[in-house]
């Protein structure tokens, strides 16, 4: 409990810092619109929001982050692979594309369904060639978030590295330029705004699993879901990917 209290204080200070930064940024840009401050519209930043278009698909970030420039962004593949390298967004367009509808289930109880397009991690691994001792991948994200998934979990059917949503490039809020979609896992195991994928030999704790009560595995458990597009009306779920609605 003592640790959690300390972390809460730290989080409070960090968020206070970012809030102050945003206020000054908005002022610097000549904006005095309070709504813009809260929704990050009109700023160079993106962060947690549930307003406007995001009422039906909540947005969570670990920390507010500066929007990523797709022209200069590179996905770095590092760690235990024979051919570590960087990829541009353009390069991913030549990968075999998959489109799927899947529901994002957040550990906070809500969920939302949408259509994602991207490619299987197998496409990437053909090029970077992970070494046999590489057991999993540590994702490093633009909002300083880190998450780990085993290679076994990443190579499951319906796990995608997604660059598009509903036929359009991912929005900043949904994790532009690249995010992971693992439909049988809670949302916190679906890192977004990925900057680097590091192949590692041992299990690592992700940001939330390290500091809070989030299971390292993150498999969706049997229980009750509150889908946003159905006015949060409770629905029974049997665990794993939600396929019934």
């Amino acid at each position: 409990m003592r640790t959690l209290e300390k972390l809460s204080r730290r989080l409070f200070l960090e968020r206070g810092f970012w809030a102050t930064t945003l206020i000054f940024w908005s002022w610097f840009r000549g904006s005095s619109n309070a709504e813009e401050l809260h929704t990050y519209k009109g700023t160079d930043f993106i962060g947690k929001t549930r307003e406007g278009e995001y009422e039906n698909f909540y947005i969570n970030f670990w920390k507010p982050m500066r929007r990523i420039n797709g022209q200069t962004w590179r996905l770095k593949i590092t760690g235990l692979c024979d051919a570590p390298q960087s990829f541009t967004l353009e390069q991913f367009k030549s990968f075999t594309a998959t489109t799927q509808s899947s529901r994002m289930k957040c550990v906070e109880c809500w969920s939302a369904r949408t259509q994602w397009s991207g490619f299987s991690i197998n496409e990437l691994e053909k090029l970077v060639r992970p070494q046999p001792e590489a057991k999993g991948v540590l994702f490093h994200c633009g909002d300083k978030y880190k998450e780990y998934l085993s290679r076994e979990a990443l190579n499951q059917d319906r796990v995608l590295l997604a660059h598009s949503m509903n036929g359009q490039p991912l929005s900043d809020a949904h994790g532009f330029p690249l995010r992971l979609i693992a439909p049988s896992k809670y949302g916190y195991k679906n890192p977004k705004a990925i900057l680097e994928m590091e192949y590692v030999s041992e299990h690592q704790y992700g940001t939330w699993s390290k500091i809070g009560p989030y299971s390292p595995d993150g498999t969706i458990l049997p229980g009750t879901d509150h889908p946003l597009e159905f006015n949060k009306e409770p629905r029974r779920i049997s665990g794993g990917e939600i396929t019934d609605y």
Binding site: C109, Y214, T219
Partner: protein
């Protein structure tokens, strides 16, 4: 069987079953590995309920030891007794939350919770892990049970709660026990 207030288990009705036997405990990692040596588990997890196994693997284990998976009727009867109780121990909701605010699953040695005991002495039917049954609906297998977990609004599993799961699925929250 069932419950009139639960849309997933309605209607409540009475059934009569022929006599049968059901294991007092869920199958553990150690027991499972004795029959299927390729099964691996974390050090110290030997007495924990075996999970991450398909329905076919569960059934295969039961057959190897001369048993079978219980039907959902048998499972519910073993958990609920003859008085339609809500929980294996009675109708009183547990006061203490086992692992409140934790999003995941905490596995423990089978039979550790002395209160989670049915009228027939069967253990861990409300907590521990969900369990495969032999019964099927709409092409999916019926699972019964509950977890040591109270994440947010997730309620402690009642004796009539049921889920439908594709038989090829493997989950860290899903194990089994045998019957005959």
């Amino acid at each position: 069987m069932g419950d009139n207030n639960d849309p997933y288990a309605t209607p409540q009705h009475t059934i009569h079953l022929d006599s049968y036997s059901i294991d007092l405990f869920e199958v553990t990692n150690e027991e499972f590995a004795k029959q299927l040596p390729q099964h691996s588990f974390w050090k110290g997890a030997g007495p924990h309920p075996v999970t991450d196994i398909t329905w076919l693997e569960a059934q295969s284990y039961c057959l190897k030891v001369g048993k079978r998976l219980p039907t959902e009727m048998e499972w519910e009867k073993a958990a609920r007794g003859g008085d339609a109780r809500l929980y294996p121990w009675g109708n009183k909701r547990p006061r203490k939350k086992a692992h409140s605010f934790y999003s995941g699953l905490i596995k423990r040695r089978i039979g550790l919770n002395k209160k989670d005991i049915s009228p027939y002495g069967v253990r861990d039917m409300a907590g521990s892990v969900w369990e495969w049954t032999a019964s099927e609906v709409e092409g999916k297998k019926i699972t019964r049970g509950g977890l040591w977990n109270f994440h947010l609004e997730y309620e402690f599993s009642k004796t009539f709660d049921r889920n439908l799961v594709p038989s090829s699925s493997k989950f860290p929250f899903l194990g089994f026990r045998c019957a005959r």
